[in-house]
Symmetry: C2
Subunit: 563 residues, 2 copies
């Protein structure tokens, strides 16, 4: 077996490529050195019409497709083309089903022609999916060679290439077009995307860097506009990190808001810190569009873990009203209060992240909002405790998956290389109690900020880094604490783009005082020359189940800083 | 240590009794034989005014206390008196803090006198609490001798007699008066209430029978009107069973609706099937009153496990409209569809329960509603899988609690007598996946009933037994499947009273065909002579997080059958 995993991986890799039509092949794919940033480079292969379509945001697209101005087929073909090009430059696709997508798009067009109205709010909108979704007609490998030609590693289940994840029902009922599944790191437990099938997924804005992970294929594909909006999952930053690394918006909803039912996963059944599913897109309003559409399908009747909470417009309206004041000062009674995380005290953000925080703070202050320094309970303790569920089973689940083919484990997930002792029921219960205690403590801190704000209310949202740097360099993702604290608390968070690295401004600080060796090492990994041009993003964090509010805040802050 | 646990228990038992004022002592407490039913017997000790107050429901009481017609002090004193009498007849109290309650009531009266308005919607309403709540000034033993003079079994935590559970904040802010804590079976894992401190809690309507468990003190106390409404917890029926055994209404909300934060528990941190907290009371509207009051305090800002779902009046209004049609046929477009569980196929309900089901079915049909037989996925499988979390830790947590004093374990919880192997992380994860699968399967069945109803909607609610008999006889609680299936699915359920055993009607069936030996044994335990007069109750079950709707349905069905 161990002798053949390379062949099986190569075969699958070639099968993916073979699904790209000959006329969409790039003859001489430029090396990273030849072409670091490929976001403009890709445009030469696309027609003017294709560019117009693919550079529109999801909400702009549905305006056209639900009114009949653009056919679903035309839109679908344009994104299939751009996604095909993207894969050749970035290695971001696991499954390609353009034919099925075009067939679905034609059906949507026929429906529109007959009924003079769209199937639903996502009529004709192409949506990409992380390779954890099961979609009929294609398989799910999740990057494991041993999962090729199986259903989650098992043969003969009858579900192979037939079963669909619950969210596919909501998406199809809303009129969305599914056309590709995107790359993930095997195990899903990494902030970079690498596996033995498609290799390493590159960051389109700066191919020296990672596209992020674990929804790294989504990040790369949407980052290069090969998809307007897509769905990833997040147990430690896996939606927000690739969104951030690619200059996108990404929503990590709280658990129980969107349907995860019927998706493949790692360590399924670990329910101390749950993975959640959520959208990545080029605008905050794209994320609102798809989230609202999903909730209108009442997923709580189909997924036992989804709470019956429809989209609550009342929760966003008071924030949306702020949009009218962009460029001037917000009236006093409408002002918001923000907590700012400059550092979590464990690892210091690098120069471009620090600049992004200053930039956002300044914009918020200029608009009249209140800024307080966020001084919460220890993130170190929170992250250390929140990490335990990652190894409850001592790595057994992922090692079993590797054992299926005998394939090699990427260094990015070497955490699981050695067998660890499984947690006992008592140890798991102790962790659950500890986590609940930490959540309560953090909640009390948040409540206590009412005493510090002039609004009399607790802080509305927290602005935080998502990682110490704008994006990780290969095999240098050494700290997850800026994303995982949100998962530990099950808070709502939206990644949003702020700026781009400018090597002439974002120089290394000469007087940096590290917390410890690791902190120094992470600062050292930042190199302005290598990072030049990379997207710099942050996240806006809200309390549990505040998706409407935090999306509206992200949209507003984005507008304030001109994004 | 083992030689002294009896002394420690006796000392605590006497300390509870000593808190009952001399003038409220019953000189010659009648034996069970002398006085089987004590619900009328108790009245001789109460004044006319006290009777008028204590036989009012919670909603009637707050009408008087929030308008100033009754003082909080007068109401509180009346319930303290009746609770004191109840304890002597039934052994239902663990903690007595009448003095603190009267002091609190006086403060409420002073507030009212000054502001001419109530503190909140529960102004002056006495509320009893299961002995899992921490209340300042008193301790929490949860029936464990080893917990006496500790905080959850630990000494010197600084929390002893000071710390309060989160729900106390909401209750106090709403104006409720807390005055006693009620008995539980040690471990909480039984449908009868027995421990070495207070002994065995009797059923006031028929002292041959159990008051139920684990919120058995609540059931007995409210059953004899020593409390208008109280809070229990439910992981396998522990709110609904004592409600049912005592002819009360009891709400088992879904997880995440009401705050459990800061309560003591058994096997805390087991988070596959969570215990929930909910009210028991004499009317459905009492339960609505307190649930609504709690939610108005935004518990989601104080308990990290509570979802932000305020009381949703829209979810109950269409059901409440049905009340105007009681006595006549409901207009077609307003009709509901009910599923009826006659048997779960594992254990057959005894004669009075079968009669109750017929009675309710007939009333619903007469009102024009639709009745379908509920044919769900196997409850046996559901209950077997749902039981695993009860023994994830192999009984370690409860054995540790017994070991603190060396006390003897009641036969009712002998399940934990022998050390069992702890589940591993992998086994727990497998259980979680299995549970999710069973919940999804049941959900699909429920959805599928839309094809069977003429309303075109899935069944609105399910009518189910809560136990095979009206109440358990001592040490004969042999089957929990009629209550536990609801916990396994995290459904909303309300226990409601239907009728009382009539030994001349509810005879043993002569042609009973048992499923197996256990089924026969349970039928044999039913004896019309012993059960005569006992309350007979059922439960109405709704989908997850449908508290508003199911309370309204319970109120309506209660009215239909004249309760």
């Amino acid at each position: 077996m161990t002798t053949s995993w390379k062949d099986a991986a190569a075969k699958k890799r070639e099968a993916i490529s073979a699904l790209i039509p000959a006329e969409w092949r790039i003859d001489n794919v430029p090396s990273v050195k030849e072409q670091v940033d490929v976001t403009d480079y890709i445009k030469q292969y696309l027609s003017r019409e294709e560019l117009g379509i693919t550079e529109s945001s999801a909400d702009q697209i549905v305006e056209k497709t639900t009114s009949g101005a653009w056919s679903a087929e035309k839109v679908t073909r344009a994104f299939c083309h751009r996604a095909a090009l993207a894969h050749q430059l970035l290695h971001c696709l696991h499954e390609v089903f353009f034919d099925a997508a075009i067939a679905d798009a034609k059906k949507l067009d026929a429906y529109f022609a007959k009924h003079k109205e769209p199937v639903g709010p996502l009529h004709g909108l192409p949506i990409s999916l992380k390779d954890q979704f099961h979609v009929k007609g294609v398989e799910t490998t999740m990057g494991y060679v041993g999962w090729i030609d199986t259903f989650e590693g098992k043969k003969g289940t009858g579900k192979e290439r037939v079963f669909e994840s619950e969210m596919l029902r909501e998406l199809r009922a809303s009129g969305a077009v599914l056309y590709c599944k995107t790359s993930v790191p095997h195990t899903l437990m990494a902030g970079e995307t690498v596996n033995n099938i498609i290799g390493y997924t590159l960051n389109p804005k700066n191919r020296n860097l990672s596209s992020g992970g674990s929804s790294g294929g989504e990040g790369a594909l949407i980052g290069i506009r090969g998809s307007p909006v897509g769905f990833g999952t997040d147990i430690g930053g896996s939606i927000r990190v690739p969104a951030a690394f690619n200059g996108l918006y990404g929503l990590r909803p709280s658990t129980g808001r969107l349907p995860y039912e019927g998706m493949s996963n790692s360590m399924d059944g670990q329910n101390t810190v749950l993975s959640v599913v959520g959208p990545l897109g080029t605008t905050a309003s794209s994320l609102r569009l798809v989230t609202k559409a999903l909730l209108s399908q009442q997923p709580w009747l189909y997924d036992p873990l989804v709470h019956e909470i429809p989209w609550r417009s009342a929760e966003e309206e008071h924030i949306q009203q702020l949009l009218q004041f962009v460029g001037e000062s917000v009236p006093k009674e409408k002002r918001l209060a923000f907590g700012i995380i400059h550092t979590d005290g464990v690892v210091t953000p690098t120069a471009p992240i620090r600049r992004a925080i200053k930039l956002v703070t300044k914009a918020l202050e200029a608009a009249g909002h209140e800024i307080t320094t966020w001084s919460p309970p220890s993130h170190r303790v929170l992250n250390d405790t929140g990490f335990r569920p990652w190894v409850f089973d001592g790595g057994r689940n992922v090692r079993d998956a590797f054992a299926l083919s005998g394939e090699q484990m990427a260094t990015q997930v070497s955490l699981y290389q050695n067998e660890m002792k499984e947690f006992t029921a008592t140890e798991i219960a102790e962790t659950n109690v500890a986590m609940r205690g930490l959540r309560k403590e953090y909640m009390e801190y948040w409540n206590s900020t009412a005493k510090e704000t002039s609004t009399g209310r607790p802080v509305d949202a927290v602005i935080s880094p998502l990682a110490p740097w704008p994006a990780a360099r290969e095999a240098k993702y050494k700290y997850y604490g800026y994303s995982t604290w949100v998962n530990a608390l099950d808070y709502t968070a939206v990644a949003f783009p702020v700026t781009n690295v400018d090597k002439s401004i974002d120089v290394k600080s000469s007087d940096f005082k590290p917390v410890d060796e690791k902190d120094q090492e992470i600062q050292d990994d930042y190199d302005p020359e290598i990072y030049d041009g990379a997207h710099v993003s942050l996240q806006i964090v809200g309390r549990r189940l505040q998706e409407e509010k935090i999306l509206a805040v992200a949209e507003y802050v984005g507008k304030l800083i001109g994004k």
